[in-house]
Amino acid sequence: MAAKIEITPEMEAAVGVDSEPWLHEVTTTSVRAFARGVGYRDRVYYDIKAAQAAGYRSLPCPPTYLGTPIFIPGESNDTFSGPKQTGPAVRHGLPNVLDGGAETEYFADICAGDVLEVRTRVADLRVRESRTTGQMLIITSLTTCTNQDGVVVAKQRSQALFY
């Protein structure tokens, strides 16, 4: 059970600052791997001809999949696969993390062949009491995905719970 969590001025300073961009690739293989991981049976996420017959340029991203961050040993997070540190850090020292939820807004189709430039910013920090874990620090992040043509294709707001 965590001790009392305090949001310090240093933590507050990280709010609202965009990270450096990181590239996420959407490839036919990565779309299939994601679809297979979720358990899709729909051919459109596996077979390019089926995808084109359904009106897509190539295999479409299944909902919630926003490409695979390019992995560089030492620069990428070995557990979560995203970049290790491209924005200001919220240094809280809490050992455990749970996912709180997410909301994704789509502005255009994302298909295999696309390369997304992804920026993340901490949108909000707050402390909440939880029945099971005591106090939790809730970090809300806003991720913006821009494709190779400069079009913002998706925005995702997500919450991580630290305790």
């Binding site: 899709y40 359904a54 996912d99 994704t104 807004e105």
Partner: protein
């Protein structure tokens, strides 16, 4: 068949999607989604030991709600917004029933849209992952 505007009404429920992901499925999801948190595959991981089990990725449930909506649309429309909250942990090899309901069907500026309420229910009928979606029909 791709979903058409006349195929549904407010109050309609989406065809349910049942899943009972085991460790192997979660490993496939980890590979596809890039989340290798040991909490989702390693029973010896301290947080898993404290909880008493590994748990299903919240993001797996989120993606599965996306699959539920995608199956319903069958590419007759696109998802404009998809959201969910993780209110309870789900354990592997337990059956989950994913469902949804059309809460609103409307036309706006020539766009044909619908709002959906979504859920992931355990065998005990507990909704661990309430969600929502906004969709726009193509035709």
């Amino acid at each position: 068949m791709p979903l058409a505007w006349d195929d549904f009404e407010e109050g309609d429920e989406l065809p349910v999607l049942k899943k009972a992901p085991g460790v192997t499925q979660l490993v496939k999801y980890a590979a596809g989604g890039g989340d290798f948190n040991p909490l989702h595959h390693d029973f010896a991981f301290p947080q898993a030991k404290a909880i008493g089990s590994i748990i299903i990725h919240g993001r797996f449930k989120y993606a599965a709600l996306g699959e539920l909506v995608s199956n319903w649309l069958d590419h007759g429309g696109r998802i404009v917004k998809l959201a969910c909250q993780y209110r309870g942990m789900d354990l592997p090899d337990r059956e989950l029933t994913l469902g949804g309901r059309v809460t609103r069907k409307y036309e706006q500026d020539g766009r044909r849209c619908a709002e959906l309420e979504l859920w992931v229910k355990t065998a005990e009928d507990k909704n661990t992952t309430p969600g929502s979606a906004s969709v726009e029909l193509r035709g």
